[in-house]
């Protein structure tokens, strides 16, 4: 059995090695695939903060992913068509600068998480799952019916947004950006998990009354965690928009929310690198099985089923025989 720390290093190393190999072997699609895995992992790292640490099973995280994505899509659309986003009371122009877009995406999705979280966190357990689903669906249908930005058709960003000093149109630099952001998010989520805040959040998951009696308000803890979580997922959404050069309501669908949960559970709930392992495996299976058979989804289902039934604590749990940290 391997120690979780070694496994983590291995996983991060593999995620880095794959695209480098792709670059060397002139298989640019490998890089795209790794980028996709990194972005999905980033979204799931966000979810894992709420879900793993705080026990907040959100089935509406695609909403934040989508808000981030639409932030990127809308800003880029206006910048590329040279139309201002609004002219009154002040004129706001679009932009194609990634850092600026990220900022907007993070702020927008954090605000969305603040609003949704403030209401949803009044409930708990299965009710929480369902109310987050409800908010996600509301945003989904809102986007479908949003004629200004393509409705169901979505928004195309014809050219990937720019990052100072890098050619983002090439796959490798774009991957590097995503990889670094993923690393930063992992660092953040690790620091949070060992902080007093993380301890209290985790305790609140297990015994709410206990946390109250030591003078800590679980609602506030959870709201803060939910907002951070939503913001990270929103950032992933902005990157996803750039990866595909396209955003659409599909980014807000409950399917995707479910998929994020799958990524987290597959890797191991509450494990630092659970989301990365989950996303990596999922993208690999999707890519590889797709070539095996028309009915590849049966095999994907079977693979997922085997992991749940026989690897407790997800893949990381299975590989490290359940011993934490």
């Amino acid at each position: 059995m391997i120690r979780e720390r070694h496994l983590n290093a291995l996983v991060l190393g593999a995620l880095l090695a794959l695209p480098l190999w792709g670059f060397w072997a002139e298989a640019p699609f490998m890089i795209t695939l790794a980028t996709r895995a990194a972005i999905l992992a980033l979204a799931a790292v966000g979810l894992n903060l709420a879900l793993g640490l705080g026990g907040l099973v959100s089935l509406g995280h695609a909403a934040f992913f989508g808000v981030g994505g639409y932030a990127a899509g809308i800003l880029a659309l206006h910048a590329q068509s040279f139309t201002p986003m609004m002219t009154w009371p002040i004129t706001i122009q679009g932009t194609t600068s990634m850092p600026l877009i990220w900022l907007v995406a993070v702020v927008a999705s954090a605000l969305a998480a603040l609003g949704i979280g403030a209401l949803s966190l009044r409930t708990s357990g299965v009710y929480f799952i369902m109310i987050t689903l409800a908010f996600g669906q509301m945003l989904y249908y809102f986007a479908v019916a949003l004629p200004a930005y393509g409705g169901e058709d979505g928004v195309s960003i014809y050219v990937r947004n720019a990052f100072p000093g890098l050619n983002t149109l090439r796959p490798l630099p774009f991957f590097a950006i995503c990889y670094v952001l993923l690393g930063l998010a992992l660092l953040l989520s690790w620091r949070i998990s060992v902080s007093p805040f993380g301890l209290a959040l985790s305790a609140a998951r297990q015994s709410e009354a206990r946390v109250r009696t030591v003078g800590i308000e679980p609602y506030r803890l959870r709201l803060v965690a939910f907002v951070i979580s939503g913001a990270i997922t929103g950032l992933a959404g902005a990157l996803f928009a750039d990866l595909n050069r396209f955003v659409s309501p599909a980014m807000l669908s409950w399917h995707l929310s479910g998929e994020f949960i799958v990524l987290v559970v597959l890797g191991g709930v509450g494990r630092l690198l659970g989301p990365v392992v989950g996303a990596g495996l999922f993208v690999f299976l999707e890519h590889w099985l797709g070539g095996v058979s028309d009915h590849w989804m049966i095999f994907l289902g079977a693979a997922l089923l085997l992991v749940v039934l026989f690897a407790r604590g997800g893949l990381i749990g299975g590989l490290t025989a359940g011993s934490r940290s």
């Binding site: 004629p147 559970v265 049966i298 997922l304 407790r312």
Partner: protein, 306 residues
């Protein structure tokens, strides 16, 4: 808008509500009472519809189709429970979500593999075809009336089973503390398999009945699944009465939202735009309803406070 149209729409809303209850009845049992998150419930619904379509198509008898639907869904339920779900009762909800999500993939692709990618044909049985005219000239499709009747019967039977019988007491006790019920001598494993099978059979029944009104195709279970969850949560987990009231509420909200919101916006906007905005809002209506209910009552309308 005439009064009689409004009345008919209210009736449509009630009718949709009962139909929704019928569709969520199985899930009420499995999720509401046994406390198991079964995303594959929609697949059982689909299995029912496909079995009914296949058998009714081959034999020409809707009743045989209905029987096949019940049997196929129940068998699938027993398989799913004994092979997968049984290992997950003690785990938390997340593992259940993942496992049953995997089951959706398997069932959907499996069905497509067996039946192909095209929708199947399942028609309303001849005796129930066409509208029934009531005294006073009001006409309503006979098949829908039959569905309402069956839905009400299922509601009563479920309520009786869960609230009034010892089996119901045991099921609920098992949800509260499975190990303890076993330690007191109840064969909870077998009981749960049977309840799960019953839930699956109800899903299959709904699939077959509603399949005659809708498109029998792969993926037909998903919207039903979401709706059923919405309903159970609005009603309060564990409460059959809650699920029933919530079904009616959702049916009315949906129907009247679709009908009235475009009209309402039409008063302040140009009709085409009002239509678009009104319909968009109507599609959010039940989710807004659910969020509102949960914000005010975090455990649903009839749910026990925790």
């Amino acid at each position: 808008m005439s009064l009689s149209l409004l009345l008919e729409q209210i009736l449509n809303g009630l009718q949709l509500g009962v139909m929704l209850f019928l569709m969520s009845a199985g899930l009420t049992l499995v999720f509401g009472v046994m406390g198991l998150i079964n995303l594959a419930h929609g697949s059982l619904y689909m299995i029912g519809a496909f079995a009914a379509a296949a058998v009714a198509g081959a034999t020409g008898s809707f009743l045989l189709g209905l029987g096949a639907a019940l049997a196929a869904a129940a068998v699938a339920g027993v398989l799913v429970e004994t092979l997968v779900i049984r290992r997950l009762y003690a785990r938390d909800h997340l593992d259940q979500v993942l496992a049953t999500f995997a089951l959706i993939l398997i069932f959907s692709e499996g069905t497509r593999w067996l039946f192909g990618s095209f929708p199947l044909y399942l028609d309303i049985p001849a005796p129930l075809k066409g509208p029934v005219t009531f005294p006073g000239g009001f006409a309503y499709p006979g098949y829908r009336l039959a569905i309402i009747t069956i839905g009400l019967a299922v509601a009563l039977a479920l309520f009786w089973l869960i609230a009034r019988t010892r089996v119901g007491v045991r099921i609920r006790a098992g949800q509260a503390d499975r190990e303890m019920v076993a330690a007191l001598g109840v064969n909870i494993a077998r009981l749960y398999t049977m309840v799960f099978a019953l839930g699956a059979a109800l899903a299959g029944l709904a699939g077959a009945l509603v399949g005659a009104l809708q498109s029998v195709q792969v993926g037909m279970g998903e919207p039903v699944l979401i709706l059923a969850f919405v309903i159970i949560v609005i009603g309060g987990i564990g409460s059959i009465r809650g699920a029933f009231v919530a079904s009616i509420l959702v049916g009315l909200t949906d129907t009247l939202g679709r009908f009235l919101l475009p009209l309402a916006f039409g008063m302040v906007m140009e009709p085409s735009a009002a239509n678009i905005v009104g319909t968009a809002l109507a599609s959010m209506a039940i989710y807004i309803l659910m969020a509102a209910v949960l914000v005010v009552r975090p455990t649903g309308l009839f749910g026990a406070a925790t």
